[in-house]
Every structure is written in C-alpha cells, then in structure tokens.
C-alpha cells in the first residue's frame, strides 16, 4: 500500500507518517530552506532550495578552446586570461557570502603543487584562479566549481 500526495490546502483524510500510509503535503520553498520538516515530501523542482544541495556546479576544460563539460544553473564562463576564469551563475545567490568550492586537475608534469582559488565572488558570479607550482598562472585541462548557500 503506497502513499499519495495532495495539493497544499486540500482536506487530508489521514496524514502519512514513517510507518502509516496516507496523505502527504509537498514542501514549499521556505520549508525546503528551513530543512527541519520531516512530514512533507520533496518535489524535484524544489530540491535546489535545501541548504545541503549545490546551487550551481560546473566542470570545464580551461585549455585550448575553453569548453564546458557539464554544468547546472550556469549562464556562462568568461576566459579572463591564462588560468583565470569567471563563472556566471544563472539564478543568483541571495548574498555574496555563499560557499564556493573550486579545484582543477593538471595533466602535464609536474602533477603536484598546483593550487586553485576563488578570488572574488558576487551574488551571481565568482572567479577561479589556477596557479602552478611556481605560483604562475596556468590553464588547467579540468576546472571545477560548485556553490552552496541561499538562492535569491
């Protein structure tokens, strides 16, 4: 026997629980952002409002002809120079204090001591700097970025 869902506000005959099948409401944005409710269901289009979910992510090739491999919620990337890129997010974060995780992979030798940092960030964009072992800007064949935090 399975659970089924009804729209918010409709009369519920009996509520579903962890152990009892019944009616269950769909969580709205504020409930997803609060991340405390254990009695409502999550709809695919609202998963991104949960604070534990990445609001945007991207992986791209930063060498040769710059090209995006895969992404979510990204408008564009801007090649600002050797090893320097700006990622533009499609739906902004609500502030510029969100968490940004960046990284890169270097395939040429040496394959160690490279570092990748986010230099600046705004509500809708962030920069990625890739440096080699000599702290010199270098294009990387795989550059990664992901953001977490409240979305506008």
């Amino acid at each position: 026997m399975g659970s089924f869902a009804i729209h918010r506000g409709a009369a519920a005959a009996s509520a579903a629980s962890d152990t009892v099948a019944g009616l269950i409401e769909i969580a709205v944005q504020s409930e997803m952002e609060a991340a405390t409710d254990t009695t409502r269901a999550v709809a695919p289009g609202r998963v991104q409002y949960h604070p534990g979910v990445a609001k945007s992510w991207i992986t791209f090739n930063g060498t040769g002809t710059i090209a995006v491999t895969e992404s979510h919620n990204i408008t564009s990337i801007t090649d600002d120079g050797t090893g320097d890129y700006t990622v533009t997010i499609a739906t902004d974060h609500s502030t510029a204090t969100y968490c940004v995780l960046v990284g890169s992979t270097q395939v040429t030798t040496p394959t160690f001591s490279t570092h990748t940092v986010c230099d600046t960030q705004a509500a809708g964009s962030y920069t990625v700097f890739c440096r080699n072992e000599g702290n010199t800007a270098e294009d990387m064949p795989a550059v990664y970025g992901a953001t977490f935090g409240d979305q506008a």
Partner: protein
C-alpha cells in the same frame, strides 16, 4: 554554440565569454548572445568597465600560448599582438636565464676553491654567455613578424661546461 562574446578591458586585454545556458526555443543566435552578454554583464562587476566587441567564432581564436597578448586587430577580431608576444617571450627567456645563472653559482664557488684555471675560464665564459643571451634573443625576436613564428621560437642556450 561556437560563438564567443568578446570584451575589451580598459588596459586593452580581452576577456572571452563562453555561453553555457541553452538558447530559448525559437531564439535567434544574436538574441541569444545578447541575452547571455547582458546576464553576464549584470552578474560580473569587473565587466562594468569593459567594452563589448563583435562576437567571434571559437575557431577564430588564436593559440593560447600568448593568451595575455590577445588584442583586437584592425578588423576588430581577436589576434596576437606581436610586440607584446615578443616582450613575453623575452621575459620568459630572462627568467629561465636567471634560473640557470643561479644554478651555476654553486659551481663557481666550488671551482674558485678547487678548479683549474681552464675550468674557471670555461665557467666564466658560460656565465657570460648566459648574461648576453637576452640581447641576442631580442635580435632574433625582432626578425619574427607573426605569432606562429614566435610560438615556434626556441633560444639556443649555451652548453654548461
């Protein structure tokens, strides 16, 4: 989508935007690029001082070997500025020359104490050749007039004794 949006910074350098978001249904290419450019401009504060140049196809972009030397040419397309590329190459040669000079310091100290006059003379000649190298490289580079030739250029380093 192989088109790229080109921006020129106040210092002359170029920034190239790659659209990622897909076009809307029925949206023309120019409308799509304008929409992506506007969204990017609004989201990236450092683009506020930049000027948008004509869009280019990714296949028209030069090699990234001299990425910092990309400038708009007379047709307002993206090209390598040859004098800037020469300066970049010369700076790279100087940096490598300095590394080799530094590496020979230990040999000089060792030979000052224990070396024969001939060994000392050979090392002195090597170090002088390293010091003179940028001058000869500069002359070589002045003779090269396109970025492809500059990209292929490799200096002849003096052999270490």
């Amino acid at each position: 989508m192989t088109k790229r949006i080109v921006w020129q910074s106040p210092d002359g350098s170029l920034r190239i935007t790659v659209p990622v978001e897909p076009p809307l249904e029925g949206e023309s290419e120019s409308a799509y690029l304008d929409r992506i450019a506007l969204r990017t401009l609004n989201a990236v504060p450092s683009l506020a001082d930049c000027v948008r140049l004509p869009d280019v196809d990714a296949s028209e972009l030069p090699s990234r070997r001299f990425r910092s030397c990309w400038r708009p040419n007379v047709r307002r397309s993206v090209a390598v500025d040859v004098p800037l590329a020469r300066a970049q190459l010369l700076a790279e040669v100087r940096a490598e020359r300095n590394v080799r000079l530094l590496a020979s310091d230990a040999d000089k100290q060792r030979l000052d104490d224990l070396g024969t006059p001939q060994q000392k003379q050979q090392l002195a000649a090597y170090r002088q050749a390293l010091r003179d190298l940028p001058t000869s490289v500069q002359q070589d580079l002045e003779a090269l007039t396109d970025s492809t030739a500059l990209e292929r250029y490799a200096p002849t380093w003096p052999a270490k004794p």
